[in-house]
Amino acid sequence: MSLTAREKVLLACLIIVIIVLGGVAYYFATFKPKPEVIELTLYTKAGLWADFIRKTGVLESFEDRMYREKGLIVRVKIITAPHKGYRERVVTDFAAGAAGDVVWLGESEIPGLVEAGMLLDLTPYVEKWEDWGKFYEVGKKLGSYKGKVYAIPFETAPLVIYYRKDIFKQAGLPVPWQPATWDDVVRAALTIKEKVPDVIPFRGFYDVCLPIYMAGGKIYDTTDGKWIVKSDAILSAFKVYYDVFYSYGITPKEAELEKWDNRKLFQEGKLAILIDGVWCYIEKWGPGMTYEIENREDVVGYAYIPGLGTPGAPNYISVTGTYNWVINAKTKYPELAWELVKELSKPEIIAQWGYETSHIVTRSDAVLGEYAKEPFLKWATTVLEHSIPKPIASGYKKYVNTFKRVIIDYLVAEGKSPEECLSIFVNEAIKELGSDAVKEV
């Protein structure tokens, strides 16, 4: 039977319709909805910090663990902000609601962000976490505010004295060297000033309030929440600065006023004694770093910072802060964010970061691997025994900036006496902080 042209066309259309309908039926029969992908954001500094996280594969192992343990597809996206101005940027982003779920944060911003309701209270989480007992107390204190935990410390970095062994040998000074008091430091600096005159003997203090702690004083009273603006320790601190720049002249004024690069001068052998953070040993002077020092182990010595040697002064002292992982209170996934923080805070991750950047680990079981083999880091971990945490209170930046301004603009630039500087500091601090937030002891 032969078909007409019209019948052929109808048959072809019918076949096409059957194929299409069959395909559609097959698609819907085998259709499975795509699993939901949960996106978490990790907010940290650009460059070294973000690169480290990417390099360790910690995010991938976290994502795998979430899939295996909870059947969840989680993707962690890194958001970065530049290192310069990071503090201002992270606070502004929190205020604007643009901060990530998990954020890299210094300890000084914790009180203000807690008061603004921006940080998740981690106390219920750490209470159930068996690893929490392995974290050092100084880090735990720095991450807590009003008795609650808001931050998991990832790194801490106390201050130490560095000295150039080659310059010390040239000046006839003993190597290794551990000054017992501040006078020993001054004596060594004066010897260098006499014997090696083309070298700057001393540069300090990185933390401008360090001489106050060296005198056994403090800047904040936790019992009444007031900033101490006048005390014997603060006067002693001004005297230390006056001695450094004027009485003994072991630091040229221009070095402070013109912000000479201390780490570069130390690398070039133009600076003999420097008080700086433990991170400089590897992050600044280590192999392949910005100011690499060849044969660093033979050239760079390190020692504890001594107290002033006055009544009430500690034998050795240092001050430390922390950088931490915090969780945004507005996160949609607090449990997942906590799991991410736990992953980031594993001892091997902290140890690797500590080794690569010479920051001190914040948990006792992180002294392992290359970190444990590095003599400087093993020694630097013991500095924590003498370290006091920076005060965690609103107004810390204003206090420190005011103190710094008085040192630079009045003491160093104009040569005002310690007593005059103390009086100026009291007035300036009251203006900045308010008269009801300060006290004298």
Partner: protein, 294 residues
């Protein structure tokens, strides 16, 4: 008149106006609303951190009253006007000299030099301080080496001469604005005036002072207003080079507003300082529009 008839009657105007809508929307979102927000915040004790972030209070004119008693605010105001005046003089003189050079018949290679003169103006402002840091370093900087070569005393550019340094950077970066305005004004002066002056044996200075200057009077005033307006809210150089130091000697008003808002997180107060800057710029803009005959 019914709506349809109204639309029909004014259809061409409506179509023309609709082309303005996208620009107006952008202006509203990125200019007007933030401006209104800023003015509102300046009447509150809003902060970027702490309880005042979530519970700011309306405090009326308190921020402005506090400003009147704030010695650092007045120091910033004084520093800003000193900076603007010094930059104004330098930028104008350099711009005028460059404009005279470019419009003169005597010199060759003007096209290439015009491009070179414009370079600092078109390079992003954030790059300028990095260029100058190496020039102004006390121990190894190029400028001090030149001074030493001529037997002069090297200067502490970063500390003692901090204001002079930022004025220098700003003048180097910004003289091209005056150059562009003045060279275009000078070019529009009819050549016949100079030809007649040549016939009467006028000197170059006489031609400049009796012909050029009077005929470019309004462009000169306009360029002075524009330069001042540009400098009054300058921020980049002092932020990147001196951070307002030493001892607030380079703390321009814009930097002071930034420090208050983003370093001390006192957003309300920082906005109040910003409003003051805006008022000054607004007054200058009115002056500029009046001069332009708008």
């Amino acid at each position: 008149m019914s709506l349809l008839r109204y639309l029909k009657r004014y259809s061409s105007e409506i179509i023309l106006a609709s082309f303005l809508v996208p620009a107006l929307v952008l202006l509203l979102i990125f200019q007007l609303i933030p401006t209104i927000w800023t003015i509102w915040f300046s009447f509150t004790d809003m902060a970027l951190i702490g309880k005042k972030l979530i519970h700011p209070s309306f405090i009326g004119l308190k921020n402005y009253v506090d400003m009147l008693n704030d010695s650092i605010f007045w120091q910033s105001m004084k520093v800003t006007f000193e900076y603007c005046l010094a930059s104004l003089v330098l930028r104008f003189i350099l711009g005028l000299l460059a404009a005279l050079y470019l419009t003169s018949k005597m010199f060759r290679g003007k096209t290439i030099l015009a491009a070179i003169f414009l370079l600092p103006y078109i390079i992003p402002g954030a790059i300028h301080p990095y260029v100058w840091i190496s020039m102004l370093d006390t121990r190894y900087g190029t400028l001090n080496r030149i001074l030493l070569f001529f037997g002069l005393t090297p200067q502490s550019w970063v500390y003692k001469r901090a204001m002079e340094s930022v004025v220098m950077i700003n003048s180097w970066a910004g003289y091209a604005l005056a150059m562009l305005i003045l060279s275009s004004a000078i070019t529009s002066i009819p050549k016949e005036f100079y030809e007649v002056a040549d016939i009467y044996g006028a000197s170059r200075w006489q031609k400049f002072s009796k012909i050029t200057l009077p005929l470019i009077k309004y462009p000169v005033i306009l360029s002075l207003v524009l330069i001042f307006k540009e400098d009054i809210d300058d921020f980049t150089y002092v932020y990147m080079f001196t951070e307002g130091g030493p001892h607030y000697r380079t703390e321009l008003l814009s930097l002071y507003a930034y420090h208050k808002a983003f370093a001390y997180f006192e957003l309300g107060y920082g906005c109040a300082v910003g409003v003051i800057i805006a008022i000054i710029v607004f007054v200058l803009t009115l002056a500029q529009l009046k001069l332009g005959g708008v």
